[in-house]
Subunit: 140 residues, 2 copies
């Protein structure tokens, strides 16, 4: 199966207080924006937000599980965080193939992640490489 320019994939994730706690334990990111309600309330966010690493974690899952699929790693990531993700939000990622390398299992994805209310929380692009033996790539 060939990866085609314009092809898209989507994947969603619900962010819970347990997600935020687990990500902190995993990485060491105990930012008060994620745990200190008074601190978060004193910022323009107004309440506790999730780590950006959970939002990008959804993108790691999307490229590995959906498109390009198993065997895929990121070569690069280039994106902006445009709005906060709150605890309890369900976020939805959408990737679209912008270009496919003519001879290598390499593609460029345009990426966008939105909250349930439609607000874009992340936008940008990334390059991926898919190892053979994994998911469909242009090499197979």
């Amino acid at each position: 199966m060939t990866l085609l320019q314009g092809q898209t994939a989507t994947r969603s994730l619900t962010i819970t207080a347990l997600s935020v706690r687990t990500f902190a334990e995993l990485t060491g990111d105990y930012n008060p924006l994620h745990f200190d309600e008074a601190f978060a309330a004193s910022t323009k966010f107004g309440r506790l937000v999730a780590q950006g690493g959970l939002t990008t974690g959804l993108l790691h899952a999307l490229v590995a599980m959906d498109m390009p699929g198993p065997g895929t790693v990121f070569l690069s990531q280039n994106w902006k965080f445009t709005a906060p993700v709150y605890i309890g939000d369900t976020i939805s990622a959408r990737a679209e193939v912008r270009s496919v390398h003519p001879t290598k299992p390499v593609c460029q994805l345009q990426i966008e992640v939105r909250r349930g209310d439609g607000e874009v929380v992340l936008e940008g692009e990334a390059w991926c490489y898919t190892f053979r033996g994994g998911a469909p790539t242009t090499q197979r």
Copy 2:
């Protein structure tokens, strides 16, 4: 306290099989590169690797805990993954302040992450915003 151009911070993280399992449960990234020994062995990586989201997770911890410090969020991330991180590796992140906004609590960081053997696994740059009430910024 003022954030100064050229200021640096470092932070390390040891990646275990449990880290990889937990990240998968958290995000849905069950790429066979992380779990299927035969698949990983068939690629140039040669053995199981960690999710890139664990490497970038360390960077989320660094900006939130060390420099600029508590209250910091990423505005953008722009980096390349240059080599794999294997299960059992201890990775070390280094950030250096490239520029500090003259009037806003915004800075640009140059970022590099290395494995214990010195190989660079990630390099690039990011922009951060630090909410007041948090860590030292140029605004305080």
